[in-house]
């Protein structure tokens, strides 16, 4: 038996792969099918779904036309949900932009240090991951609060006369998300920049390129794979984020994530939540596929 196993490469491979594959199949692919199923049935009275199931496409129609809902009032806005999708996209783009703008120089700075310092600084970047995300977000909330650390500090210095409105608005959500996702941007960009051969910048300068042009023509194109990886790693989770907008936005900032969260919570509308999840997934999928289609072989390998 053992001999048979040793000789059979296919069997060895199968036994190595199957636990992981089974896990994904059972706890990821199968539930996804269930979500797909739920998105096409009517909701039940007490939440969940009607049994036996009644098939409908109402959940998708409602998403693109909010007034299609049976609960819609006479002054309903048909583009309510589309608007929230758009808003989420905008926040995700702003957050991704700032994560890259702030993360690139940081990654560059770290890569230029001596090896021992490099490691220490990278650990400092990673340390926040070891602290609970909720705890960090609540801590940030305390910093930005009306009576919080930042306002007290600025008022103490007499830079401002009355506290700034820093919390429970889109600014706070952006700050919270940038804070939470900056390391995700730094890590892949650091990997790219660290591999970059800085003598190429000297070569560019030698050929008459100013530092700015040398960066744009040589360093940026060569570290682009890291930037693209950072873009995907930040944009995808941020567009579906729900804890940060909830805490930092104080319930006033609606994102797709908070909306979906509510469908499975207080609104007890599983089918509608499911349809939104799938549309979000499809959008991200289209984005990533479009990126892979347009990017070169090299960029892909760097991911």
């Amino acid at each position: 038996m053992l001999k048979f196993f040793r000789r059979n490469k296919g069997l060895q491979l199968f036994s190595l792969i199957s636990p992981g594959a089974l896990w994904i199949l059972l706890f990821f692919n199968l539930p996804l099918l269930i979500v797909l199923f739920i998105s096409f049935v009517e909701r039940g009275r007490a939440g969940s779904i009607k049994i036996p199931p009644v098939y409908t496409i109402e959940n998708y129609r409602q998403l693109f036309n909010a007034c299609a809902s049976q609960f819609a009032g006479p002054e309903c806005d048909p583009f309510l949900y589309i608007g929230i999708f758009g808003h989420s996209m905008r926040i995700a783009l702003v957050v991704t932009f700032w994560c890259i703008i702030l993360g690139y120089p940081l990654a560059y700075f770290i890569s230029k240090q001596r090896p021992i310092w490099r490691d220490a600084l990278m650990i400092l970047v990673i340390i926040p991951f070891w602290t609970n995300f909720l705890v960090r977000t609540y801590a940030l909330k305390q910093v930005l609060a009306t009576e919080g650390l930042l306002n007290s500090f600025l008022m103490g210095l007499h830079l401002i006369n009355q506290p700034l409105d820093l919390l429970f608005n889109e600014f706070a959500v952006n700050v919270g998300l940038i804070y939470g996702y900056l390391p995700f941007a730094v890590l892949p960009m650091y990997a790219s920049i660290e591999k970059f051969d800085h003598s190429l910048m000297e070569a560019a300068a030698d050929l008459g390129a100013s530092p700015r042009r040398a960066f744009l023509r040589v360093m940026l194109p060569m570290t682009l794979p890291g930037v693209i990886a950072a873009l995907v790693l930040v944009f995808v989770p941020v567009v579906g984020a729900f804890i940060t907008p909830d805490i930092m936005g104080g319930g006033k900032i609606e994102m797709i994530g908070t909306l979906i969260n509510r469908q499975f919570g207080v609104s007890r509308n599983w089918p509608f939540g499911s349809s939104m999840s799938l549309v979000l997934m499809l959008m991200v999928l289209i984005g990533v596929v479009a990126y892979f289609r347009s990017s070169s072989e090299e960029t892909r390998r760097a991911m």
């Binding site: 000297e202 070569a203 030698d206 008459g208 100013s210 060569m222």
Partner: protein
């Protein structure tokens, strides 16, 4: 146009070492490189030759002193504004660009139009004998080809001075020899001043019009290849360039330009020298292996008795090791002009080592 292409005046470059000390990589160096010259900076690694080159290129700024390029002070001018181009040791070609984009980069930065650029790129490729390579990527080229592309990328800009940082270091021996001759020919054709950094003394001797021998941040000697080889200024230079026999001795007298030197129990020799020595001065006599001859009878010049300790046949030459009565050992190189020549002298034979009065050099430092 100023007389010198590059002039370094009392240039000092200090670095802070990781331990917090100060290292003078280039220690008050002064040199003048003539226009159109093939000038080599020669020395072992860490002698300051590459740092000197990098200061001329503008990648490092001198701690003190001045650097002029064609009479204009460049000490504090950033690299991208200097009229020089560099061929890097590891080529430093842009991997994300085609050969055409690489070679055309300097022209692109100057704002030369695309059509003019592509015309001049193909000319540059002709010059380095790689026509039609425009669309290749650096990765698809061999080391020797990348080297030529790097050369074309620098020369297309018609720099006032071309700086080469051990450009042949990564090539195999045969290709290196080929490229040495090719570089020398190319330099004569384009007439641009070349400053060439190398640790390979043979390479420097082969290609250069003049050589600066450096050690520990200091220039020891500047001169034509034959000056450096035939009339080294110090023991270090004599030892670094080619092979040399050093025999310690004491000056016993001087008659005009002829100096008598006693080599312990080996005997007294006469050496022609333009310098003046005092009696009983401790000196070192340096003589190249190919300037010594093995004989069985006394010839004109110096004749010293010795015994053959080893005979090594290496094809073109035969090398002999001979020990003198005073215990000093010298190496002798004789060309194998006739077949079987090396079989005449055997290990253990007593021989006379003869050499002229002008071949040795008396060195004091």
């Amino acid at each position: 146009m100023a007389e010198f292409a590059v002039e370094m005046q009392d240039v000092l470059k200090q670095f802070i070492t990781p331990e917090g000390g100060i290292l003078s990589a280039v220690n008050h160096v002064t040199m003048q490189i003539k226009d159109g010259e093939f000038f080599s900076l020669l020395g072992p690694s860490g002698c300051g030759k590459t740092t000197s080159l990098r200061m001329i290129a503008g990648f490092e700024l001198p701690t003190d002193g001045k650097i002029f390029i064609h009479g204009k002070e460049m000490s504090q001018v950033p690299a991208f504004q200097r009229p020089v181009n560099t061929v890097f040791q590891q080529y430093a070609l842009f991997p994300h660009m085609t050969v055409e984009q690489n070679i055309g980069f300097g022209l692109e930065m100057k704002g030369v139009s695309r059509s003019e650029r592509s015309k001049r790129v193909s000319e540059a490729l002709e010059m380095v004998r790689l026509p039609g390579m425009e669309m290749r990527r650096p990765k698809q080229l061999s080391g020797g080809q990348q080297q030529r592309i790097a050369l074309a990328r620098a020369l297309i800009n018609k720099p006032e001075v071309l700086l080469l940082d051990e450009p042949l270091g990564a090539l195999d021996l045969k290709l290196r020899k080929e490229m040495q001759l090719e570089l020398k020919t190319l330099q004569r054709e384009v007439g641009i001043t070349f400053i060439y950094v190398t640790h390979d003394q043979e390479e420097a001797l082969t290609m250069s019009d003049r050589i600066a021998v450096m050690s520990k941040g200091v220039v020891l000697q500047i001169g034509k290849p034959e000056e450096i080889y035939e009339r080294p200024a110090s023991k270090y230079v004599a030892d670094f360039i080619g092979e040399t026999n050093f025999i310690d001795g004491v000056v016993k007298g001087q008659n005009g330009s002829t100096v008598e030197v006693e080599l312990n129990d080996t005997g007294i020799i006469c050496v022609e020298s333009s310098r003046t020595f005092t009696n009983d001065q401790q000196v070192s006599v340096a003589v190249r292996p190919e300037k010594l001859r093995l004989n069985s009878e006394i010839k004109d010049g110096n004749n010293l008795k010795g015994r053959v300790e080893d005979v090594i046949y290496i094809g073109t030459d035969t090398h002999y090791g001979v020990r003198f009565a005073g215990g000093q050992k010298v190496r002798i190189r004789e060309q194998n002009i006739m077949q079987g020549h090396h079989e005449i002298v055997q290990i253990g034979d007593d021989v006379l080592v003869s050499f002229t009065y002008v071949s040795p050099r008396i060195l004091t430092e």
